[in-house]
């Protein structure tokens, strides 16, 4: 009976199916690894899809230069543990290479600049598919995203010219120069990801669990002080028990007050909370109503 298949197994089966389809249909795929929970779950799913064989793709990390040290340390630990290849693209280098201008303001986001490093890595390595951990429930532009999302040679997403995706038949054929972004966990919600992490006891960076941290209180949001964010004399600086609900840049990801020190605590907290993941933690999505849609059109994933 289909009822006996737990819904997490259904999501897992769908994701593994997509990962294998990516391996089979593309010549040079890559898995974009951010160090966050969604991409860690992707790695876990890839282990299930391809072991005892090796991954048919490398992991690619776009280092913004503003990453949490805990996330970088975890990345290296995981790569070493699974024995797979890692390629690092550097936003710092793209900034120098193209003389890019940093976003101004108190909490600058390198989200837009990240796209340059990403497109460089894609071009240098001739990747024809990049697997990412984006989910449709994150944001309304992402709700319209395909599983296989075709991008032109500028990496641009054209929401009006998306290919129809019928049943679970995935068409990965693209013209030369074009490439595809692949989203195996499109149909997962934040809660599904956590339930899955709990079910398989998946290791995560310590950032996701409660710890004491010095933060600046900025418009109800807690932004950690760091080498990139120094408090001003006018700032309210607090030391609080916090955790990160998403792991982005240190400069624009807010911590949330929390005492959750286990996956179960986090699951309870998410069920209770009435604010969305990105709404609570991303300072850069709130710039405009269509911030994500615009970034995606320029090549963001």
């Amino acid at each position: 009976m289909s009822n006996t298949i737990n819904y997490l197994n259904q999501l897992e089966d769908e994701a593994i199916y997509i990962l294998r389809e990516t391996a089979a249909q593309f010549e040079k795929p890559a898995l974009l690894f951010s160090g966050g929970k969604d991409s860690i779950v992707l790695v876990h799913l890839a282990l299930k899809a391809f072991r005892p064989g090796k991954f048919p793709f490398p992991l690619v990390h776009i280092d913004t230069g503003h990453n949490f040290p805990e996330a970088i340390a975890f990345r290296d630990y995981l790569v070493n543990k699974i024995g797979e290849k890692l390629i690092v693209g550097s936003v710092e280098e793209s900034i120098k290479k193209y003389n890019l201008k940093e976003t101004q303001g108190r909490f600058p986001s390198r989200n837009a600049l990240q796209t340059y490093a990403l497109l460089d890595v894609i071009q240098e390595n001739e990747f024809d598919a990049c697997i990412g951990g984006a989910r449709r429930d994150e944001e309304k532009a992402r709700a319209k995203e395909r599983i296989f999302s075709v991008r032109d040679d500028f990496g641009q997403w054209d929401p009006k010219l998306q290919r129809p995706e019928l049943w679970d038949i995935l068409n990965g054929k693209v013209q030369k120069g074009h490439n595809v972004r692949v989203f195996p966990i499109s149909n997962w919600t934040e809660l599904d990801v956590w339930n899955y992490i709990q079910k398989y006891n998946i290791e995560l960076p310590s950032l996701y669990f409660t710890h004491e941290r010095e933060c600046i209180l900025h418009q109800d949001k807690l932004v950690a002080t760091s080498e990139f964010i120094q408090p001003l004399t006018t700032d309210t600086v607090v030391v609080e028990k916090v955790r990160y609900r998403t792991v982005g840049d240190m400069t624009c990801t807010a911590a949330v007050p929390s005492e959750a020190d286990s996956v179960q605590d986090i699951i309870d907290e998410i069920i209770q909370t009435r604010i969305s993941e990105r709404g609570q933690t991303r300072l850069d999505d709130q710039l405009s109503e269509a911030a994500m849609e615009d970034r995606k059109k320029q090549g963001y994933f």
């Binding site: 299930k48 391809f50 038949i169």
Partner: protein
């Protein structure tokens, strides 16, 4: 707990977006920060929050107030996880509705209580049925605007019952609702005491989607795992999805295209040995003999074999701006097996508004018809109505690789 994927079909003013908004809102699936944005956007006076705004994601959609593309929405209750394919109802976006319907187990067809069954209703019902959906809910919406009249509801129900015979649904449920006010969506309405059925949400939670486990057993090889390292020198596993039916260790199987018979010695699921695998599961098969098997090959049980042919007749839904061309070569992707195909001819076209077949020599964007095709290599398939997972395919343009047609084999 399992997942139910459903699509909502309705016209611009039938209240489709409001219905989805209501389901999400009443099941507490909208976050407070998203609500804040919606409150800001709601321009209607006296309305606190315009529920229809929840589903429109793209700038152009908000500007024009219509849904252009399929958007996927998620919510869950204690009983089920739901995935909604929110697709546009306009005729010029039929292809988007086809896409949404192909990924759904159930269709909610919205009927405006004041208008009754219209040409649009028939078009939506027809697309859902054609794409293989087996369960339909006819939501008679705006029941508040006809004074909660039982007669109106019964007339619509009877009207749909008379056309149901021409469709392939095996269960149709009728519910009087008001998406705007909330009648019979999550809570039973006191204003329709004559209605004895369940609310919309309760119906969605309890409806049983029939499993493909009891159909003929079909498996296509998606990926061959051959590590070739010392430890796994002799490891050769065929990874893929059980499309339908079930397999167990010891089963005699036949491999297509080679026609060779073999036996399953081991079934692996995520590196653990399992005795059995059922429809929907991704597993790895190991066979007794060392046979040359590659991606796209079919491994089927010998009791009920698929049709093997390089000539076939099929339904086609055309999704591309340039029309289908007779004599032209396309690629046909039958899940993991892609072959070249020539269109031999258009047999007939389905007039989705009039519900009749017409002779025709062209199939254009949003058209639905039946065609004959010839492939350069044989396919191993079933009729779509008998086994949808092994009876569907897509047509791909050979030059720009767009997906141009959805195929359901006859």
């Amino acid at each position: 707990m399992n997942t139910l994927k459903f699509i909502t079909a309705g016209n611009v003013d039938d209240g489709k977006s409001t219905l989805i908004g209501r389901l999400l809102y009443d099941s507490d699936s909208i976050h407070t920060d998203q609500l804040g944005v919606l409150q800001k956007q709601t321009k209607q006076e006296g309305v606190d929050i315009d529920l229809s705004l929840i589903t429109d994601g793209l700038r152009a959609e908000r500007e024009q107030g219509i849904t252009i593309d399929v958007a996927y929405k998620y919510f869950s209750t204690k009983k089920r996880k739901f995935i909604i394919a929110d697709a546009p109802g306009h005729e010029q976006y039929t292809r988007n509705m086809i896409t949404g319907a192909s990924n759904s187990d159930l269709i909610i067809i919205l009927v405006d209580a004041r208008k009754g069954i219209t040409t649009q209703t028939k078009r939506h019902a027809s697309i859902g049925s054609l794409m293989g959906i087996k369960k339909a809910i006819i939501a008679v919406n705006k029941i508040d605007l006809v004074n909660y009249s039982e007669d109106v509801f019964t007339t619509i129900k009877n009207d749909f019952e008379t056309i149901k015979g021409e469709l392939n649904y095996d269960e149709v449920v009728y519910i009087p609702v008001s998406a705007l006010v909330g009648d019979n969506i999550v809570a039973k309405s006191e204003k329709t005491p004559w209605f004895e059925g369940d609310t919309l949400l309760s119906t969605l939670e309890h409806i049983v989607i029939s499993s493909k486990e009891n159909l003929a057993s079909r498996f296509q090889v998606q990926w061959v795992i051959r590590p070739k390292d010392e430890e796994n020198h002799d490891y050769r596993g065929y990874a893929g999805q059980v499309l339908s039916g079930n397999y167990k260790t010891g089963d005699t199987v036949k491999i297509f295209p080679s026609g060779i018979e073999s036996t399953i010695v081991r079934i692996e699921k995520h590196q653990e040995t399992v005795e059995r695998a059922i429809a929907g599961e991704n597993v790895v098969f190991h066979l007794t003999d060392n046979i040359d098997i590659s991606r796209g090959d079919s491994i089927v049980k010998t009791d009920y074999q698929p049709t093997v042919s390089n000539e076939l007749k099929t339904w086609v839904c055309w999704l591309d701006n340039s029309p289908l061309q007779i004599g032209k070569t396309y690629l046909l992707q039958h899940r993991f097996r892609t072959v070249r195909v020539k269109i031999q001819g258009i047999d007939r076209k389905w007039d989705i508004n009039e519900w009749q077949f017409n002779d025709s020599n062209e199939v254009r964007l949003n058209d639905i018809g039946q065609i004959s095709v010839r492939t350069n290599q044989p396919l191993f398939f079933d009729a779509f109505t008998e086994n949808s997972k092994n009876g569907n395919a897509i047509l791909i343009d050979e030059t720009n690789f767009s997906t141009v047609g959805a195929l359901m084999f006859l």
